[in-house]
């Protein structure tokens, strides 16, 4: 099986619709196939990564801790759109600190999130083989 470069584009807020959770599950399942996976969060999708989510009062599963496991699944290219953060009054500090461990460097922790602008997003969409939209 040849390795394909997959880009998952996440543009929906969590909880209001099921897209965010579905995307996360597909990413985790897809990670078993050793593809080259990249995630992009833009528009309301940036809310998926917000810190401090507490769903006890709305009777939904809080799946935000699962994003912290993405590093274990070797999903460590996580792009976030700067403009979407700005429009929503958010900064990188408002997002969960996603990291991965580099086995080649004695499990050194490295940041997974990379902030990008719209021109870089255009490049991302061009350079990946498959774009999956959620």
């Amino acid at each position: 099986m040849s390795i394909k470069k997959l880009l998952y584009v996440n543009r929906k807020a969590p909880y209001g619709t099921v897209y965010a959770l579905e995307s996360l599950e597909v990413v985790l399942i897809g990670a078993a196939f050793e593809q080259d996976v990249t995630l992009l969060f833009m528009d309301d999708g940036v809310f998926q990564l917000a810190k401090g989510q507490n769903t006890t009062a709305i009777d939904n599963k809080n799946f935000s801790p699962t994003y912290m496991a993405l590093g274990d699944y070797e999903v460590n290219k996580i792009y976030v759109d700067q403009q979407s953060l700005d429009e929503r009054g958010l900064s990188l500090d408002d997002l969960q600190h996603l990291v991965w461990e580099d086995e080649d460097e004695d499990y050194a922790e490295k940041d997974s999130i990379i902030i990008v602008d719209r021109a870089q997003i255009a490049d991302l969409m061009e350079e990946n083989d498959v774009v999956l939209s959620f």
């Binding site: 807020a13 969590p14 209001g16 809310f47 009062a57 709305i58 929503r88 009054g89 958010l90």
Partner: protein, 99 residues
């Protein structure tokens, strides 16, 4: 009149349409993804502030907490629980849900 918004103001124009049509004195309640409208310093914060001058704006705290934005709520928005939600609907004769 009580207006209820359950869509993100960054994705749908429900909240802006509501602002345009709400009479002075009407209450506006944000629930579900509608609560994203409470965030201070967002690109629509000025519109929310302008609306506050003529309408009282409420947000359901359960939905605010679920989304991790409790520490970003702008001044002037009243957070309510489910009982407060019931009270609001009882206090108003008419209800418009902006789907």
């Amino acid at each position: 009149m009580l207006h209820i918004i359950n869509k993100s103001p960054f994705e749908k124009n429900s909240l802006m349409s509501c602002f345009a049509c709400a009479k002075e004195g009407s209450a506006i309640l944000l629930i579900e993804d509608g609560v994203y409208g409470v965030i201070a310093n967002s690109s629509i914060a000025a519109d929310i502030k302008a609306a506050m001058a003529k309408n009282s704006i409420y947000a359901l705290s359960a939905d605010v907490n679920a989304r991790g934005i409790a520490d970003k709520v702008m001044d002037g928005i009243t957070l309510i629980d489910y009982n407060g939600f019931v009270d609001l609907t009882c206090d108003h004769e008419k209800l418009q849900s902006w789907l």
